[in-house]
């Protein structure tokens, strides 16, 4: 199995609410610790396939893979600041950012 340059997770936006979500084992999650991490090309392709199926089911839109690094706690963290921002919410209104568990509602 060919390794990807960096581990990857799958980002999407929920169709109904537009919230940022990540693909987990059993569905879409808001917490990166629950996201499925692909370490090789095949696993990344599988993530994309699942994402496209979810698009076809009209659950999410705009799915894409993003590079991450695995932290000391084992949680994936995006390498690029755009995806970091997507997970952290607007830096200028932290008071408004929804809790991760609320993102799926």
């Amino acid at each position: 199995m060919a390794a990807t340059k960096h581990p990857q997770i799958l980002f999407a936006s929920m169709l109904r609410g537009g919230q940022t979500v990540l693909l987990g084992e059993a569905g879409w999650v808001g917490d990166p610790r629950e996201a499925v991490v692909a370490h090789d090309v095949e696993a990344a392709a599988a993530l994309e396939r699942r994402g496209k199926e979810e698009v076809a089911r009209n659950n999410v839109v705009d799915v894409y893979l993003a590079d991450v690094e695995i932290g000391a706690d084992g949680a994936p963290a995006p390498l690029h600041y755009r995806e970091k921002r997507r997970l952290a919410g607007p830096s200028v209104r932290p008071d408004l950012w929804v809790r991760r568990e609320e993102r799926l509602r």
Partner: protein
């Protein structure tokens, strides 16, 4: 959209302060809401794919951003009634997170609507004669204008009847709904340009010919974005009777020759640049000569009917100087400062124009909470005729305040954090949403604006520095107008980090110019120090009455670059 009820204006008991829908308008907007409701239903049920639905939602102003959908609400030429402002506040509370963002296009954006709620939002807007149509897509967008329209002392003519005339002409125009790219029109009727008409696809300046007849100086091909251009004058004078036919000719030339193969070269500014202004003029004149004038025949009665909606409200007869105002200014220094910065002269004796800054120190430029919106609606009624204006500089204007009422108004505004005395000063920063919200952004812009605002928060120093436009964009698309800031800041990505380019010398007015890049990018943390260096240089070099932009023009790039490189007080050697 053409209104058809000639007596409508006479039926209301309230002062007429804005265009009002007739049954034709109302039916059209309601039909559009019903249509979109059905489209959303079909999308949620899976009958429409995202590829099919995306253009439909965009036609209704609905984008998908980094964290949520974003709905852009049209505010034609920036005019709002108190009732409409209250409705915007209600929608913010009921469907969003209790605030809205006023934009450089004089519109309002909600940052958190849910797709399934959008039809209800549009219905709530339609009830107060508002919509989100043509706030996106490759069509003629919301026509913008001077926020002091109808009340400015330097005005030749109120531009709003023209703007409304154009709004009706351009709404769902069948030939111009799928242009090569978006198309923006701005109109001013004043001697000072407060609408940045040189940076629109078409800019219209109301002028008089030698006989005193009113017409339009037509600028074409202005714009910002990745290829900023100053619009070129293609006609010194177009008679009012010919306006629609002439604009139709410009749009037809653009529709025919504008590039559709490359999104980044599709705006009319690129066409004008590539073929040259003389060839553009020739093509437009040729089309104008050949055009069937029948459908565009000027209806003077219709123009007069529209203009009647913008007739002056029933002002009281007042002396030009308010003794009450002068006394309060003597008693209260903060109030006196507010008057000196945020109050402009009014064409009606005894009245004033008030700019309410949406730029509190350290705040988010252009954001207003629902409570602030309600307060603005209330004070517009108590201290005016229930009318408000949104400015392209992301502030709110109360256009008809009695000088005698200014102190009471200021106290109300102060209590709601709406009395920041900085209109036109260094902390009155134009700023796009940037990477805190926007899917297109390459860097954050709001935190940079906040840092500059805090750095220069001292009111005395702000006034010492004087008139200065700082404008910040979070990407090359330039929604924050950085190209036309005397100091412009552009956020980009550089080696995986947010990086900021500084430009100097931009000017949005009739003396239009595009800012020049000063040097390599700096970090967000370094930006305030760089600005500090530039300001210190300006203060040390300026002559009596010389603005920052004037000094830039006198000394030029090299001298400012030296100042920029100077080690700042933060110890940052840029």
């Amino acid at each position: 959209m053409t209104a058809h009820e000639p007596n409508l204006a006479a039926r209301s008991n309230e002062p007429i302060i804005s265009y009002r829908y007739d049954e034709h308008d109302r039916a059209f907007v309601r039909a559009r809401v019903a249509e979109f409701r059905e489209q959303v239903r079909r999308r949620l049920e899976g009958a429409l794919t995202e590829d099919e639905f995306r253009p439909l939602r965009l036609m209704n102003g609905l984008y998908l951003q980094l964290h949520a959908y974003m709905l852009r609400v049209a505010i034609p030429y920036g005019g709002l009634t108190a009732k409409q402002m209250r409705r915007l506040a209600e929608i913010a509370d009921r469907f969003d997170k209790g605030y809205g963002h006023f934009t450089t296009r004089q519109n309002l954006q909600y940052n958190w609507p849910k797709l399934e709620d959008v039809p209800d939002i549009l219905e709530a807007l339609a009830e107060v004669e508002m919509h989100a149509i043509q706030t996106s897509g490759n069509c003629i967008r919301n026509v913008t204008s001077d926020q002091f329209a109808g009340v400015a002392v330097d005005e030749i003519e109120d531009p709003r009847p023209t703007a409304e005339f154009l709004r009706q002409w351009s709404s769902l125009h069948p030939e111009f709904s799928f242009l090569p790219r978006k198309f923006k029109i701005a109109v001013t009727g004043a001697r000072e340009d407060r609408a940045a008409i040189s940076f629109h696809d078409i800019g219209l300046r109301i002028v008089e010919d030698a006989n005193g007849a009113r017409g339009y100086e037509v600028h074409v091909g202005g714009g910002l974005g990745r290829t900023p251009m100053v619009g070129k004058v293609v006609r010194d004078f177009v008679a009012r009777a010919d306006l629609l036919a002439y604009l139709e000719a410009i749009l037809r030339v653009y529709n025919r020759f504008g590039r559709r193969d490359n999104k980044f070269k599709a705006r009319i500014k690129i066409l004008v640049h590539e073929i040259g202004v003389d060839e553009m003029k020739r093509l437009v004149e040729e089309e104008f000569a050949a055009i069937d004038r029948g459908p565009f025949a000027f209806d003077a009665d219709e123009f007069a009917r529209i203009a009647a909606f913008f007739a002056p409200p029933p002002y009281e007869t007042l002396p030009g100087r308010s003794e009450a105002l002068e006394a309060k200014k003597r008693e209260n220094r903060d109030f006196a400062v507010f008057v000196s910065t945020n109050v402009a002269p009014h064409k009606a004796s005894g009245y004033a124009i008030v700019t309410v800054s949406l730029k509190p120190i350290g705040g988010i430029p252009g954001d207003a909470s629902s409570a602030q919106m309600r307060l603005l609606a209330d004070v517009s009624e108590r201290f005016g005729f229930g009318e408000l204006r949104v400015t392209h500089t992301q502030n709110i204007v109360l256009p008809h305040v009695k000088q005698d009422d200014l102190f009471a108004l200021w106290r109300e505004l102060s209590a709601a954090d709406l009395a920041t005395s900085n209109a036109g000063l260094i902390t009155d920063i134009i700023c796009c949403p940037g990477l805190d919200y926007c899917a297109l952004a390459t860097a954050r812009s709001i935190p940079v604006a906040q840092a500059i605002s805090r750095r220069f928060q001292d009111p005395e120093r702000q006034r010492l520095i004087g008139e200065l436009g700082v404008k910040i964009s979070g990407c090359i698309n330039a929604c924050g107008h950085h190209h036309i800031g005397a100091i412009g800041i552009l956020g980009l990505e550089k080696k995986g980090q947010e990086s900021y380019q500084i430009t100097l010398g931009g000017d949005p007015t009739f003396s239009a110019s595009i800012g020049e890049l000063l040097g390599p990018g700096v970090t967000a943390q370094e930006v305030p120090g760089v600005i500090e260096n530039l300001i210190e240089f300006y203060l040390s070099q300026r002559r009596e009455g010389e603005r920052f932009i004037d000094l830039w023009r006198r000394l030029g790039h090299a001298r400012f670059k030296e100042a920029w490189r100077r080690e700042g007080e933060d110890g940052v050697d840029i």
